[in-house]
Structure formats: C-alpha cells, structure tokens
C-alpha cells in the first residue's frame, strides 16, 4: 500500500500527527498508551516516578527503528574493524541502545549530553547520520570530526552533544560544567553526563558532584552500569556497586537500562528534578554484548552463558518488539521488512562513507587554535613541513 510505503520512508522520529484507521498494519498513532516498566524504580533520597509510562504507538515504532539502526551500525563497525578499515580503538554499544534512545525521547536538543568513548549511538540519537559516523570511524573527511577525532571523539555541537572523551571519568566534571553554563544563562535546560561503572569510582566525579550540589547545577549523572570496567567486574572495583546511592547526599534512581520506557520515564523525572533542585544520579542497569573494545574478546571475564542469557531475557529491541506485537502495532513480517531496510540503509551509508576521501594534508595543522595569531607550527622535520596557524 502506498501509504504504508510512505510511512516507512518518514524519518523515524517525526511520525505524522494525523489519525489513521484502526486497521492499518504499522501504527503511527500518537494516541496515548500507558505501559508499565519491567520493574519499579529504586530510589535514594527521593520519591521515585511512577512505573506507568505514557507512550504512543508511533513512539514505540520509533524506539524499535532507532535502536535497530544503532544495533546494525555497531555490528557493521565490528566487521569494518576486522577488515582494518577502522583503526585504533573501537568501543561498541550494542546492548545499551535503550539508554541512548530512551534518554533522547525524554529531552530536547537544547539539553546537553556528554559521554565517554562508547559514543557512536549517542551521536546518532542526537541527530547524527550514519554516513558521517562511518566516515569518522574510517578516518575520512566526511566524518563528523573530519576524520581527525576517530571512534572516541564524535561530537555534534549544534545538537548539544559534547563528545566523545577518551579519559575515563573526565566527561563528568565537564558535564557539570555544561550544567553550570546552562544555569548561568538561565536556560531551564539540563545536562546528562554519562559514565560507566568503571568510571564511577573516579574521585573527580565526587568533586564535581559536591560542587554541583552546592551550586544546585542542573546536572544529571547517568551511570551506564554494564557491570564491567574493561575486564573488571563491578564487585571487584567498587566497595559499593549501588551506583545510584553513591551520590550520598545527592538523590538517585536505579533504572532497568534495557527497558527504553523506564529510561524515558527516569530521564524525564531527572530533568525536571535537576532544573528545579540540582544534581541527581541515575543508574542504568544495562549490558554490552561486545567486549570492552574490539581488542577485548569479552569472554575471558564473563561466561558466554551470561552474555546469551541477557540477550535472551533482556534485549532492549526484543522487549519493544514484544510490546509492538502485544499492542498489535505491526506484524512480524513488517518488522522484518523494516530491519531488512535498515540493514540496506547501513550498508549504503558504509558504501557512501568509503567514497569519502581521506582528509586533505593541510588538515594536519587546522583547528589547533581558534585564534592562532599567525604563529608557525611544524611537522616532524621543521625545515620541510611548516604551516601558519591562522
């Protein structure tokens, strides 16, 4: 049907508001649906939000699509890395998609997000496109950082996505700084600073949290607890792995990070709280299927049974698929078609990214400074290669 084809070609996040007949196969209805989260929220020093989440058929379809695109992108990145088209470090996010997607659904592009190096999917959630993501991974000029950053350094300033950071924990004080600026400029927006269970023990988090609490900054610290800091399980790294409580005097909420609706509810709650009262900690109970990075098989410190168990019981995409069937929003065949099309889109994006050339050699010397005063910079042989910094 022509209308169904039209529906599929619409950008996932902008489904039309017009009501459709109840008999339509893939629902794009924005009628309200209330769905219970998988588990109730566990709260620290605050009353938790309700387990009942307001969503809509259109939103659920968007969740399914967005997470599927992310899943496909990360799996494709795995292959590209093994084919040596991606070099250096590559930290994949598959399994954790619900955090990126649920968070985005709760906030606006005026709110800020900052994360560490497992950043490809946050970039997509903030409106980044597949071509610039793959091009950046492959070090091409069409990349979101023009090939100069690489996997760990994706940014999208116009969507208030501040990267993309390689040093564990550093992004959290930075995130509190973003929140400081938001409050300073009286913007009524908030910042989500994402970090892992490994980073949760970093002292700089507690320093920044203390200041944020004193100054009532709209900072939301989001611990993506995937239970392993590289090869070290949480119980071996943290005396208290109750990360939502680690803010001590700062309230916290523990969330099933594999349930996109729970994530959305928690992030909405957190934003409202942060803008009114100051910092709050969210702990997202999530899981990464891949190892820490492409250099880590991920199976020397966890069992394959554990990994496949999570995939079977808690996969975020499968959970939404079940909801779609339960509420009769699409058929299995339709979802399968959508997934096939996503796969084609990802492949097409990779092909387009491969066409992009490597950065021009002059890019070696661009962007060292915003204002270089015309000083000279040098290559390895300063008498052979030099440039003036504008």
């Amino acid at each position: 049907m022509a209308a169904a084809a039209l529906l599929r070609r619409l950008p996932a996040s902008r489904a039309p508001a017009t009501a459709f007949m109840a008999a339509r196969p893939i629902s794009d209805s924005t009628a309200s649906l209330t769905i219970e989260t998988s588990v109730p929220f566990t709260a620290h020093l605050v009353d938790p939000p309700s387990r009942d989440v307001t969503t809509s058929p259109a939103e659920l379809m968007t969740f399914f699509r967005d997470m599927s695109v992310m899943r496909r992108m990360e799996i494709a990145a795995d292959s590209l890395y093994k084919a040596k088209l991606i070099r250096g470090f590559c930290h994949l996010y598959d399994g954790q998609e619900a955090v990126a997607v649920g968070m985005e659904a709760a906030i606006t592009r005026n709110d800020s997000i900052i994360t560490a190096y497992r950043d490809h999917c946050i970039y997509l959630a903030r409106g980044g496109d597949l071509v610039s993501a793959f091009a950046e991974l492959m070090g091409r000029e069409a990349g979101c950082s023009r090939g100069k950053g690489g996997s760990m350094h994706f940014y999208k300033k116009d969507a208030n996505f501040y990267g993309g950071h390689g040093i564990v924990g550093a992004q959290v004080p930075l995130g509190c700084g973003l929140a400081f600026a938001q409050k300073y400029k009286k913007e009524d927006t908030a910042t989500f600073a994402l970090y892992g269970d490994g980073a949760a023990n970093q002292g700089q988090l507690f320093e920044a949290l203390n200041i944020s609490a004193l100054w009532k900054l709209p900072a939301i610290l989001v611990c993506e607890n995937n239970h392993y800091g590289m090869g070290t399980a949480e119980w071996r790294a943290a005396k208290s792995p109750a990360y939502y409580k680690r803010g001590d005097y700062v309230p916290g909420l523990k969330v099933d990070g594999m349930d996109v609706l729970a994530v959305k509810q928690a992030c909405k709650f957190a934003k409202d709280h942060a803008v009114a009262n100051g910092p709050i900690v969210l702990e997202m109970d999530t899981y990464r299927y891949h190892g820490h990075s492409m250099s880590d098989p991920g199976s020397t410190y966890r069992t394959r049974d554990e990994i496949s168990g999570v995939r079977q019981e808690r996969d975020p995409i499968e959970r939404v698929r079940k909801l779609i069937y339960a509420y009769d929003l699409a058929t299995a065949a339709e979802l399968k078609d959508m997934e096939k099309e996503i796969r084609k889109d990802v492949d097409a994006a990779i092909a387009k990214a491969k066409e992009s050339s490597m950065p021009d050699t002059s890019e070696l010397f661009t962007n060292v400074y915003k204002k270089g005063f015309g000083v000279e910079s040098f290559g390895p042989d300063r008498k052979e290669m030099r440039a003036t910094l504008p």
Partner: protein, 374 residues
C-alpha cells in the same frame, strides 16, 4: 661479555661470583658451538621476565594497576604473574589513577617497592601530582629520610590510530623534574636490563615503554637472560658506530634511526646512532664524545618539539662542545599538533625514516646522495 660484567658491577666480591656463573655458561656454549646471541626475545617477554625475576628476588616488590592480574595485563606484560605470586602481590585496581598512584607512593614511603602500571602514560596525567609532588620531591624535602623506591611503567607515545588523547609522549615532561629518573628502553635487552635496574633503584623511576615495540623480537645473549643482568641507569648505548654525523634517539625511534643510518651509509654518510636509554639522567658524556668525533648532530624523538628532549640535548652540546660543531644541530620530532586520527595525516604527525635521513644530510651539507667513498 666478561668485560661488560666488570663494567656493570665494578670490582669486589660480587664480580668473582658473577664470573663464576658466567664462565661455565660460556664454556658450555662454546662446547655446543652456539653463538652468544642465539636466542631471540620479544620486548613483552623481556619485561615479563624482568618483573618475574625481581619479584622472585625481593618480596617487597609488588605490582599494581588496571587489569594487571586476572586479565593478564592489558598488553599482556604481566601475564602469569598473578598465578605465580598471588593477589597480595599482583593487585588489580579500579580505574582511579590518582587514588592508586597515591597509595603506591605511600607504600613506597613505608619501605615497599611498588611497580605501578599506567595502561598508557596518558592516564598518568590523572596522577601527576603524586608522581611529582609526593614521589619526586620527597627525598629532598625530608633531607633523605623518605626515599621512594617506586617504578611507574607503561606504554608511552604514539600507537596506531588511537587519537589525540592516547598518543602523547611524556619523556620531556617527566625528565624536566629533578628527583625523577626517566628510562626509555628500545630492545629486549634494554627492557630487561633497565626494568631490573629501575626496580632495584631507590628513587622514583618513570619507565616509558612503547606499545608498538612489545611484539618486536631482538637477539639476547646468555648474559642478558641471566637473572642478575642489569643495565646501568644514565648510560646510553652506541647502537651503531659512525664518523660523519651523530643521531640520538630513544624508544621506537632508535629502530628508525638505525634504518636511516643504513640508508645513509649507502650514500656515503656514516652515521653514529646513540640509543639514549636514559632521558634523566641524560648521558651527556656519551653524546658530547660522539659529537666531538662526528661534529654533526641530529636529535630524534616522537614527542612534541617545543621544550623537548632534543632541545635539551642541543643545549648540552652547545654548552660542552660548541667548537666541535660544523653544522647547526638538526631536530626531528613529532608534529606540533595534537595527534590526528586519519591514517594519512597521522603518518605526517610522527617522524618517518625519511625525515631522519633528510636531516642527517642537511647536517652534512649534502642535498644529493654521494657514491660511497673509500
């Protein structure tokens, strides 16, 4: 071989024992018809064996760092050591450099000999206050009461495609500070001898390895393999003798300098390659002796050029043998920009063999290759 042992150990009763141990080995080798350098060893194995032997010899030596134990080491340098020495002596830390570095320095104050691993030296910046203010300066501030026999080791400098935050060389920064010793091994022999020396040294030592060298194999003699083997701190090694130009280098750049020397020799330029091995103390005597012989100098390093190791070497030469210089000192270093990710511009950001060859020729006032002369 025996002469080398004598130089390292000086005279005294120790020498006799060492000679006793070396003589039968030499005799056996001769009887079997082996050459002294029959065995090869990777830098990784050299480091692992050095740690193993020093932990075996001294129970106060312990290891600390991220993934050094159960994971067998992020780069497998500490493989097998947890199984051998147990969790009391091989400690996996959380990802908290400031905290565990402070703890390591405190343990050294109280008489233990920690070997603290930074997964890369980029992460040492989280802990640099402890390295400088708590470790480097303590012996001085306490008038000798509190010495700090600690080793900080890990990969330093550029790897391949790891981007700006994971590629910096910290040799110049750490070598700037009195109270620290800074070592930069190149070969497997360097790795073994210098790490053992570092662990035995009573002062804080920054031990800068290189990720790309871990898998490289080098020939090692029986002497190097012996558990008593140790290299002196503060002494450079002439890797290749020459008479036309001196090239100083450390770590991975030593390999590049040797390749450059080979190319230069085919063009009639005989380059002397100095493997610095020690950035602090710097072997000024060796460098200046070489420059007095060759009259020309090229310094090579991977790190940023401004205020780098080459700048110090140049000044040292100006101070001590200026009249011997027949040409300005040439400097090859990393590009003066944060490390880019894209492969083509990353390649432009690190020194290549061609850069060293070109600079050496400039120092020799030769722009075109010359036929080898008698």
């Amino acid at each position: 071989m025996l002469g080398a042992a004598r130089r390292q150990l000086g005279s005294g009763p120790m020498l006799g024992q060492v000679l006793q141990r070396l003589r039968p080995a030499a005799a056996t080798n001769a009887a079997r018809g082996y050459s002294a350098a029959a065995k090869e060893m990777t830098v990784r194995d050299a480091l692992n064996s050095a740690l193993d032997e020093e932990m075996s010899a001294d129970p106060s030596v312990f290891l600390m760092g991220e993934e050094v134990g159960e994971y067998q080491g992020a780069y497998k340098i500490t493989k097998g050591l947890l199984d051998k020495y147990g969790p009391d002596r091989v400690l996996d830390t959380p990802i908290t450099e400031a905290g565990f570095t402070g703890i390591g320095v405190g343990a050294a104050y109280q008489g233990l000999r920690p070997v603290v691993e930074f997964m890369t030296f980029n992460f040492s910046m989280q802990a640099i206050d402890h390295i400088i203010n708590s470790a480097a300066k303590s012996n001085y501030m306490s008038a000798g009461q509190i010495s700090v026999p600690i080793v900080f080791r890990g990969p330093n400098g550029a790897a391949a495609g790891v981007g700006a935050q994971h590629s910096q060389c910290y040799a110049a920064w750490y070598a700037h500070v009195p109270g620290l010793k800074v070592l930069t091994p190149y070969s497997a022999e360097d790795a073994r001898g210098l790490l053992k020396a570092a662990i035995r040294d009573p002062d804080p030592v920054i031990f800068l390895e290189n990720e790309l060298l871990y898998g490289e194999s080098f020939p090692v003699s029986a002497e190097v393999l012996d558990s008593s083997f140790c290299l002196p701190i503060g002494k450079a090694k002439i890797e290749r003798e020459g008479k036309d130009v001196t090239i100083t280098a450390f770590s991975k750049m030593v390999g590049y300098a040797l390749q450059a020397a080979e190319i230069l020799s085919k063009e009639g330029i005989s380059a002397e390659v100095i493997n610095l091995r020690s950035i602090r103390p710097l072997d000024r005597a060796a460098i200046n002796a070489s420059v007095r012989k060759t009259n020309r100098l090229v310094t090579v390093e991977e790190g940023f050029p401004q205020h780098g190791v080459g700048a110090e070497i140049c000044m040292s030469v100006v101070e001590e043998c200026f009249e011997y210089l027949d040409a300005p000192v040439e400097r090859i270093a990393g590009a003066d920009v944060p490390m880019p990710y894209a492969a083509n511009i990353e390649r432009m950001a690190v020194p290549q063999v061609d850069d060293i060859v070109r600079a050496a020729k400039r120092a020799c006032y030769r722009a075109v290759p010359m036929a080898a002369t008698a």
